[in-house]
C-alpha cells in the first residue's frame, strides 16, 4: 500500500468514526445553562475601556523569533538586578592587586567579601581570590553562606535605615536559593577589607518587596502604570539554567540592529516550552472581566547618548485581575517600524513576578533604544503585541499597543517616573558592564537618579547605589 493510499485510508477511517445522536435530555440541560443576564455581561465587557490603546486585531504577524535579539535579551536582560549588583561590578573593574592579596591572605574573614555573582564569563578576580580555596563560583557562594552565618550581623543596622514594607513577609521561597546569604556582600571597589559585610540594602529591599503580598490590581477602568518597585529578577528553582546564567553573566553592550535587516523582537513571559522548566502563568479573569493583561508603552530621550535622534522605548506587560485561571504560551512581540526607525537594540527585559507565577499586579518591562530616521516621524514607531492561550478554553487571545511619536516624552523631565527609573537603571547597568566605567557617566546618572528620588521613593536606593559607584570609581581612577 503506497503512502498516499494509506493516508487516504486513515482519513476514511477517521471520518467513519460514528457521531451518534445526543441524549434527548441534553438540550434541556444546555438551555438551562444559558445565562439569563447574558446581555448585561456582554454590555459590561463592551463598556470597559481597553487597558491601553484601543484594542485592535493583531495583524497577521509571523511570530518569527529573532534568535539573535532573543539571545541579547536574555544575556543583556535583568538590568535592574545589575543595578543592585553594580558596586561589585565596579570593584572588579579596577581591582587593586594589593587589596586582592590582602583579601586572599585574610582567610575566612575575606571569604564573604568576594563577589557573589561569579557566573559564566566573569568573576576572574573572585576566582583568583577563591583560587587558594580551590573553588569556583558555586564553592564561593557556599563558602560565603557559611561565613555569613559566622559573620557579625551588621545588616540590622542597615535595615533600620531602610523603609520597611508593612506587610508581613511570607515564608521564604525557592527563589532565594541563589541569593547570597545576608552578610555575604562584596566589599567596595578594589578593597577586600573587612569593613563590615552586610547585605546590599537594595538587594535586601528587593527580597522584602518580593515577599510582600501582591497588591490589589488597579480598578477595571484604569490601567495604571506599574509601580516601579525594587526589581526582583530571581528566577525560581525551576528556571532553566540559561536564565540563571544570564542573570549572573557580565553584560556586554548590546549592539544595534538595522531595522531593514530585522524588525521584530520577541520575549516570553514564561519559560519557553520544552525547556523542562515550564511554568504556568496564572492570571485572573474576574475583575476586570476578560482583561487578563494590559499593555503600556511610552518613551523618552535616551539616557545613553546626547543625541535627539535616539529615544528609549519602554513596554510594560502587566497581569491584571485576581483569580486562579491560567494563561499559557504567553509571548510578547515588538515590531519596529522600518520607515520611522533606522536601527534599534533590545536592552533587555525585567520581570516583577512572584516565584512560580505571574500574578495580578506583576509586570514585565522591556526596553528598546531606537534611532529615528531623519525628518519628522509619521505614523507609528513601533508596536508591541501580546498573545496568550487560555488554558481553560484553549482560546488564543491577542492584544496590541502601538507606539506613536506622541507617546514619547519630549524631554527627560517630562517622561514618567517609571520610565526614567527604568532608563537610568538600564544605563547604569550598561555603564557598569564596561571594563572601565566612565566616572563622568556615573556622575551624570547619579545626578538624574537623585533628581528622580525627589519625586519617587523607588529611586532612592538606585540613586544611592549609583552615587556610591561613582565615588568608588572616582576614588580608584588613576
Amino acid at each position: 500500500m503506497t503512502g498516499r493510499h494509506r493516508q487516504r485510508e486513515i482519513a476514511r477511517r477517521l471520518r467513519d468514526v460514528p457521531a451518534g445522536e445526543p441524549p434527548a435530555a441534553l438540550l434541556g440541560r444546555l438551555r438551562a445553562d444559558v445565562p439569563t443576564d447574558l446581555a448585561e455581561r456582554l454590555d459590561a465587557d463592551r463598556d470597559e475601556p481597553a487597558p491601553s490603546a484601543p484594542a485592535r486585531p493583531l495583524r497577521t504577524l509571523r511570530w518569527v523569533p529573532v534568535a539573535a535579539a532573543l539571545t541579547m535579551l536574555l544575556g543583556g536582560g535583568f538590568l535592574v538586578w545589575r543595578v543592585f549588583d553594580g558596586v561589585r561590578l565596579v570593584e572588579r573593574a579596577a581591582p587593586e592587586p594589593a587589596a586582592v592579596r590582602e583579601a586572599a591572605a585574610g582567610g575566612e574573614g575575606a571569604a564573604h567579601q568576594a563577589p557573589v555573582t561569579a557566573g559564566r564569563g566573569e568573576g576572574d578576580e573572585s576566582r583568583a581570590v577563591a583560587g587558594d580555596r580551590g573553588g569556583g563560583a558555586a564553592d564561593l557562594r557556599a563558602e560565603m553562606r557559611g561565613s555569613a552565618a559566622r559573620a557579625p550581623d551588621v545588616s540590622a543596622a542597615r535595615k533600620a535605615e531602610e523603609p520597611r514594607p508593612t506587610a508581613a513577609p511570607p515564608p521564604p521561597d525557592a527563589g532565594d536559593a541563589d541569593l547570597p546569604a545576608p552578610g555575604a556582600e562584596a566589599t567596595p571597589l578594589g578593597r577586600r577589607e573587612t569593613e563590615g559585610p552586610g547585605p546590599s540594602a537594595a538587594l535586601q529591599a528587593a527580597r522584602e518587596a518580593k515577599r510582600a503580598p501582591i497588591a490589589e490590581p488597579p480598578p477595571a477602568a484604569v490601567f495604571a502604570e506599574p509601580s516601579p518597585a525594587p526589581p526582583d529578577l530571581e528566577v525560581g528553582a525551576e528556571a532553566p539554567p540559561s536564565l540563571g546564567e544570564a542573570r549572573t553573566a557580565r553584560l556586554p553592550a548590546v549592539p544595534f540592529v538595522e531595522t531593514a535587516a530585522a524588525r521584530r523582537s520577541t520575549f516570553a513571559l514564561d519559560v519557553p516550552a520544552g525547556s523542562g522548566a515550564e511554568r504556568r502563568v496564572r492570571i485572573g479573569r474576574t475583575a476586570p472581566r476578560g482583561r487578563s493583561f494590559g499593555l503600556l508603552a511610552d518613551g523618552g530621550p535616551s539616557p545613553f547618548r546626547d543625541d535627539p535622534r535616539f529615544r528609549l522605548l519602554r513596554f510594560v506587560v502587566q497581569a491584571v485581575g485576581p483569580g486562579s485561571d491560567s494563561a499559557e504560551e504567553v509571548r510578547a512581540q515588538v515590531e519596529i517600524d522600518e520607515g520611522a526607525v533606522v536601527r534599534w537594540r533590545a536592552l533587555g527585559h525585567q520581570s516583577l513576578t512572584v516565584e512560580g507565577a505571574i500574578g495580578p499586579g506583576d509586570s514585565v518591562t522591556a526596553l528598546y533604544e531606537i534611532e529615528l530616521a531623519e525628518g519628522p516621524p509619521l505614523g507609528e514607531l513601533a508596536s508591541v503585541g501580546l498573545r496568550w492561550r487560555d488554558a481553560n478554553t484553549g482560546l488564543l487571545h491577542e492584544i496590541e499597543r502601538p507606539v506613536r511619536p506622541g507617546d514619547l516624552a519630549p524631554t527627560w523631565d517630562a517622561a514618567s517616573p517609571g520610565f526614567r527609573l527604568a532608563a537610568i537603571a538600564a544605563a547604569f547597568a550598561e555603564t557598569l558592564s564596561s571594563p572601565s566605567p566612565d566616572p563622568e557617566r556615573l556622575a551624570e546618572l547619579a545626578r538624574r537618579a537623585e533628581a528622580l528620588a525627589e519625586e519617587t521613593g523607588e529611586a532612592v536606593a538606585l540613586a544611592r547605589r549609583i552615587r556610591r559607584a561613582e565615588r568608588l570609581r572616582a576614588g580608584s581612577a588613576p
Binding site: R13, P22, L42
Partner: protein, 220 residues
C-alpha cells in the same frame, strides 16, 4: 425552536448568515426604546438558537474524542457551553462561532483527560495519560455488524485509531480532530489558527502519515 422578534425560526446547520445574525442580536447593545428585560430576553433567545444550531456537532465531536462514552460526552458538552457563555465577550468574529466553539470543546476534553484520577478502574487504568480506557480495549461505539466478533474487532480498531490520534503532537492532533471529528473546513481551521490553508493540509498529511505508521506498528 426559539422564535420571536429575532425571527430565528429553524436554522440550517452551519448557516453562516444565520450565525452572524444571531451573534449580532446577541451582542447588540442597549437601544432606545428597549427595556433591559427585553434585551435579556432577546439575548437569551439568540443564545438558545445558537445552541440548537451547534450542540449536535459539539456533542458528536466530544463523543468521538471520548471513544463513544455518551455520558461523558454529554457532561463535557455542557461544560463546553458554560465556558463559551463566559468567554463570549472575547469572541472577535475572526473565525466562525462553530470553529471557536470547537476549540473550547477540544480543550475541555483535554483538560478532562489530564485531570488526575482518584480512582483507577480495575482492568486497566488509563492513569498514565489520562485516557479513558475500557476493560475490553474496545470503544463504546455500537455499530451494526454481521457478527459480534466483527463488531468487537471494528470497535477495537476505532479505539486504536482514537488513541493514536490523541498521541499525536498537539498541532497535528488539533488539526486532525478539527477536520475529521469537528467537521471544520480547512479554511476555518487556518483562519482560527492564524496559518495558511496549505499549512493545514500539510499538517493533515503529516498526521495521517504518522497515524498510518503508528497503527501498522500496533498491529505487529
Amino acid at each position: 425552536m426559539a422564535t420571536g422578534s429575532l425571527g430565528t425560526g429553524s436554522l440550517d446547520r452551519g448557516s453562516l448568515a444565520d450565525e452572524r445574525r444571531l451573534l449580532a442580536a446577541l451582542r447588540r447593545g442597549r437601544t432606545a426604546g428597549r427595556t433591559p428585560a427585553r434585551e435579556e430576553s432577546d439575548a437569551v433567545r439568540a443564545a438558545e438558537a445558537l445552541l440548537e444550531s451547534t450542540y449536535r456537532t459539539t456533542y458528536a465531536t466530544l463523543l468521538r474524542l471520548c471513544g463513544g462514552d455518551a455520558d461523558l460526552a454529554a457532561d463535557l458538552t455542557q461544560e463546553t457551553y458554560r465556558k463559551a457563555w463566559s468567554a463570549l465577550a472575547g469572541f472577535d468574529g475572526r473565525a466562525r462561532f462553530s470553529t471557536w466553539l470547537f476549540r473550547i470543546a477540544y480543550t475541555t476534553f483535554l483538560n478532562h483527560a489530564r485531570r488526575p484520577r482518584l480512582f483507577v478502574p480495575a482492568g486497566g487504568g488509563g492513569e498514565g495519560d489520562g485516557e479513558i480506557e475500557r476493560a475490553d480495549g474496545a470503544s463504546a461505539f455500537a455499530t451494526a455488524h454481521e457478527s459480534p466478533d466483527e463488531a468487537l474487532a471494528a470497535s477495537q480498531d476505532r479505539e486504536r485509531l482514537r488513541r493514536a490520534v490523541l498521541g499525536l503532537p498537539e498541532d497535528l492532533r488539533y488539526t486532525v480532530t478539527a477536520r475529521f471529528w469537528g467537521e471544520l473546513p480547512v479554511r476555518e481551521i487556518a483562519r482560527h489558527e492564524g496559518i495558511t490553508g496549505a499549512a493545514v493540509r500539510k499538517r493533515l498529511r503529516k498526521a495521517t502519515s504518522l497515524l498510518a505508521a503508528q497503527l501498522e506498528e500496533d498491529l505487529r
